[in-house]
Symmetry: C2
Subunit: 193 residues, 2 copies
DNA sequence: ACCTGAACACCGTTCAAGT
DNA sequence: ACCTGAACACCGTTCAAGT
């Protein structure tokens, strides 16, 4: 299939893409560097021309994951309309992303890789949405937007993590992501409908 | 050191204990079944008389972890006194546990093992504390105790997870666990001092 | 500059054999 | 019943050598 010179300088990106494909199939802890190389038709030593080790490849994948998360949150955050709906849409998008990209999400937040952005740009979207909600008196203004955004992020992130654990019925985490996000945020923040 | 018959039927528990010791030293993804056996002076096949595979040993460790978490929450949950303080103490204890038992906590919530209790008994403690807070009008009564407890758990769990990622300064997750729990809960739930 | 081939120590797991 | 010894395929990583 692939000739010997197929990856003319593009092996680095091919490694990242193939890793994402494997993550979508198998679990992120089943991932093997040798398998990626095998599937791309290169030797098991080839990846080391582009990444110093297995961990650095996963860091690159996680970084693309943070970018993907940002682009999933953007449409939800960009809408005008009332600030309450905007905040709930963002929450739904966050939990939906975790649900739809299980293994990528776990790679982003569970794997031990060097310093990752940890969703810095996504966090800015949340701060803006929270600030707007505070100005519209949908959220209380006694906490700074940064602090409120951090707290909301914790709630959404914990929700996403617990959903991914697929717990038993008794905890009720088996509802659709958007519904869970709305229920959790309205309960905690006492948002009136 | 250890004679050949040292583990007279107690190898199972010794494997669990040694795994916990390794977790405290190294990371939970650095853990190797062979190393546990080596440190206990048994062959690498010996563990398979007590666990069908590596995953099942980690499940046993996680189960002990859930028990430890329960015992860490109990004193915080048991206190009489006002319901607001009780809820904040429980939150602090949860995040403190994650902080003090990093690798065990990750084993409990990140590793892919068979169905674990997921802190069912701990969840009951939280439901009781939430119900008491609702009756004292510290928390709103428009949501059921179960639903409110689930939401509070999500917030605390997300907080714990994000603390464990050791993010940069900008997110502010580098404060003491108890302080973070109090700040997050009071911000979200609008608890008055 | 980028990749191969062969090698290293290590891993999880199996299985016949020992007591 | 419980453990050993040896073996298997596989893994991450290194390095001299090829183009």
């Amino acid at each position: 299939m692939a000739s010997k010179t197929y990856h003319h300088g593009a092996l680095r990106q091919a490694l990242i893409d193939e890793t994402k494909a494997i993550l979508a199939e198998r679990g992120h802890d089943q991932f093997s560097l040798n398998e990626v190389a095998r599937r791309l038709g290169v030797s098991s030593a080839a990846p080391y021309r582009h990444f110093t080790n297995r961990e650095e490849l996963l860091t690159a994948v996680a970084t693309e994951g943070y970018d993907l998360l940002y682009r999933a949150l953007q449409p939800a955050a960009g809408g005008t309309g009332d600030p309450r709906e905007r905040l709930l849409r963002m929450g739904g998008a966050y939990v939906r992303f975790a649900h739809d990209h299980r293994e990528l999400f776990m790679t982003m937040f569970h794997d031990r890789h060097g310093s990752t952005p940890l969703g810095g740009e996504s966090f800015d979207l949340l701060i803006a949405a929270v600030a707007a909600a505070q100005q519209a008196k949908v959220l209380p203004g006694n906490a700074s937007p940064e602090l409120m955004a951090r707290s909301v992020w914790a709630a959404l992130h914990g929700l996403a993590e617990l959903v991914l654990r697929r717990p038993g019925k008794r905890f009720g985490f088996d509802a659709p992501p958007e519904e869970l996000a709305v229920t959790t945020l309205t309960t905690l923040l006492q948002l009136e409908p």
